[in-house]
């Protein structure tokens, strides 16, 4: 592909300069010029009022036999034999992609003593499970896991590989993609099949959530992406489903494992596992001072939820970074999200937009958070929160 400006047609209006998300168009002697930063995304072609910008499709010379790659794979992340929800969520969406492509859906599970997870993956939609069940995989290890997953890809040649955009997923996926020499799209919030090409269309936020980009991987296989937790609904399990379990015998030599896990430090008593939480109560600068977070914790406790915090609160040292929600923190998608004393800066909003219901409490009625909240209370959080806690406690007793 190449983006070109038709000099004759260009009227020098400059609309494309502003439309380019990468700042790659400049004006020279009243004509637009494409510069080095161009990624050929085509945003300018749509913006040009006189159709002076064209994007030419150009065949890349593929060096691999794409047709030999078949099937949709979902990597099921587990710790201590417990699978993270995102794996099942991806099996649900992976099933749709596999059906649209007319190919099989397989789950990939790496760990130790994880056999029960295979049946759950099949019940969640997988036709096949690749199971790497060895002692050296008992805890996530970047070298061992990269080795085994890359090995499986090279052996069985899937067309598509989906992983959860968790900490370990974002550690593993780029190493595997690099090792097998393919493209990887990070932190997707939507997946579909591009009708024109039959390729996976990976959609993700960029620029701090200010724009969305849809990305294709046309000439390399497998097509790989990480997908944020809670974007897709977890499918209901159907235990009558049957599937094949393939035992993966790949072993990793001790010398190939260059990191050693010394210990695991558990933190806090209040849950900060925001990625998996059904209810999140979050506080921002509007909470006034760190001590006031006891109200946030109390409401979270009553609702069985987790505690979140805005970037400002974490930067000020009121809450540890593990609680931070937003573009530079965690991305969440609970059933109910309470934003207490959070103004709703774009960088925070980018992390909460896939919540089912957003409830905002803020004393500034013009706070941007109200523009996206399903319910809002204009009022002082320090007065409203105790009342809400009392109401929810009462409900619980009934």
């Amino acid at each position: 592909m190449a983006v070109n400006i038709l000099k004759e047609t260009c009227i020098g209006c400059g609309t494309c300069v502003n439309a380019c998300p990468f700042g790659a168009i400049a004006m020279e002697t009243n004509k637009a010029v494409i510069t080095d930063g161009c990624t050929q995304c085509g945003a300018c072609t749509e913006a040009c009022p006189v159709a002076a910008i064209i994007r030419e499709e150009q065949e890349k010379l593929g060096t691999i036999d794409k047709d030999s790659y078949k099937g949709v794979w979902v990597y099921i992340e587990q710790t201590g034999g417990l699978a993270k929800s995102v794996g099942y969520e991806l099996l649900g969406q992976g099933r749709k992609l596999a059906d649209a492509l007319g190919q099989e859906l397989a789950a990939v599970i790496v760990g130790y003593g994880i056999k029960p997870l295979a049946q759950q993956a099949i019940a969640s939609g997988a036709d096949k499970v690749y199971l790497a069940d060895q002692e050296e995989f008992s805890h996530y290890n970047t070298d061992a896991y990269t080795h085994v997953v890359a090995d499986m890809i090279n052996t069985y040649k899937p067309s598509v590989v989906l992983m959860g955009a968790t900490h370990d997923g974002r550690d593993l996926a780029p190493r595997v993609a690099c090792r097998v020499g393919t493209g990887l799209t990070a932190d997707c919030t939507d997946l579909s099949i591009d009708e024109a090409t039959g390729l996976v269309a990976w959609t993700r936020p960029a620029f701090g959530g200010n724009i969305m980009a849809t990305i294709l991987c046309p000439d390399h296989r497998p097509q790989m992406g990480t997908v944020r937790p809670k974007v897709f609904k977890r499918p209901l399990m159907d235990n009558s489903r049957n599937g094949e379990i393939v035992k993966v015998e790949t072993r990793v030599q001790a010398a190939e494992i260059r990191t050693k896990l010394i210990e695991i430090i558990k933190v806090g008593t209040v849950s900060c596992n925001l990625e998996e939480a059904e209810v999140i109560v979050s506080g921002g600068r509007g909470m006034g001072k760190p001590e006031n977070f006891t109200l946030i914790e109390e409401l979270a406790n009553v609702l069985g939820g987790a505690v979140g915090a805005s970037r400002a609160v974490v930067d000020a040292g009121w809450k540890p970074a593990l609680h931070q929600i937003g573009q530079t923190g965690k991305t969440v998608g609970p059933k109910i999200y309470f934003a207490c004393g959070i103004s709703g800066a774009i960088q925070h909003v980018a992390g909460i937009s896939s919540s089912d219901i957003i409830i905002a409490i803020n004393k500034d009625k013009d706070a941007p958070i109200f523009k996206m909240a399903d319910y809002g209370i204009v009022g002082d959080v320090m007065e409203v929160l105790p009342e809400l806690i009392a109401e929810f406690k009462e409900l619980k007793q009934d």
């Binding site: 609309t15 502003n18 700042g23 080095d36 930063g37 161009c38 990624t39 050929q40 995304c41 085509g42 945003a43 890349k60 970047t142 900490h167 974002r170 550690d171 996926a173 780029p174 190493r175 993609a177 690099c178 393919t182 493209g183 990887l184 990070a186 269309a201 620029f207 701090g208 959530g209 724009i211 969305m212 294709l216 000439d219 260059r258 050693k260 695991i264 430090i265 558990k266 933190v267 900060c272 596992n273 970074a321 593990l322 530079t328 109910i336 800066a345 774009i346 219901i357 409830i359 109200f370 523009k371 996206m372 909240a373 319910y375 204009v378 009022g379 007065e383 409203v384 809400l388 409900l395």
Partner: protein
Amino acid sequence: MDIIVCVKQVPDTAEVKIDPATNSIIRQGVPSILNPFDKHAVEAALRLKEKNGGKVTVISMGPSQAKDVLKECIALGADEAVLISDRAFGGADTLATSYTLAAAIRKLGSFDVILCGKQSIDGDTAQVGPELAEHLGVVPITYAADIEVNGNAVVVKREQEDCYEVIEAKFPVLITVVKSINEPRHASVKGVMKANRKNIPVLSQQDLEIDGERIGLKGSPTQVRRIFAPSHRVQGEIIESSSAKEAAHLLIQKLSEAKII
């Protein structure tokens, strides 16, 4: 110990606004900054050097303006800075970027530790660090919230979703850092003066042993198909009441009616 820090110049996405009429990004007036995560990586490098001795070299791939962020790193205390810049590198995705950075690092010589920010705030992929490690054949440790040096090894506190892992690895190692790792210092006047005088060498395609098919847009497996504005949630019901008790009660009522609770 020899430390290399990879940094990126990014638009300050917190300052980015969307033109509601055209749904496009308004770039005018948006400052270009040192990627905030990378600033913490530079700080981590300086602290490692202060404690263990050695040299800090900062590298960046980008257009010639990216020299600004390299000078900023020199002002903060880095010893050397190198810009990797060539038209042919333009439009690179994470695979082509990490491949190019790897070639530049090989050219620079040996290293004990490579530090990167967890991710950039414009691309947000967090992929270049682990991919760079893979190209160089060194082990990556991601999400570092603390780094200690123990002889010829590092002990890293790695942030997980709900806990920390303490991981040890021998040099050479690549570490990506989260913001909680440290509080970056400000540049000193002396540092700024040093940065002003500093000559920043540029490595182009011909300076590197590199396969022309694997760089820039041509070497990028992923292609941007379409850019569009995110769909916005619509405003729901706003409760304004002088009594907090009444407001809370009204909310509960509405949530029950909508069968949310």
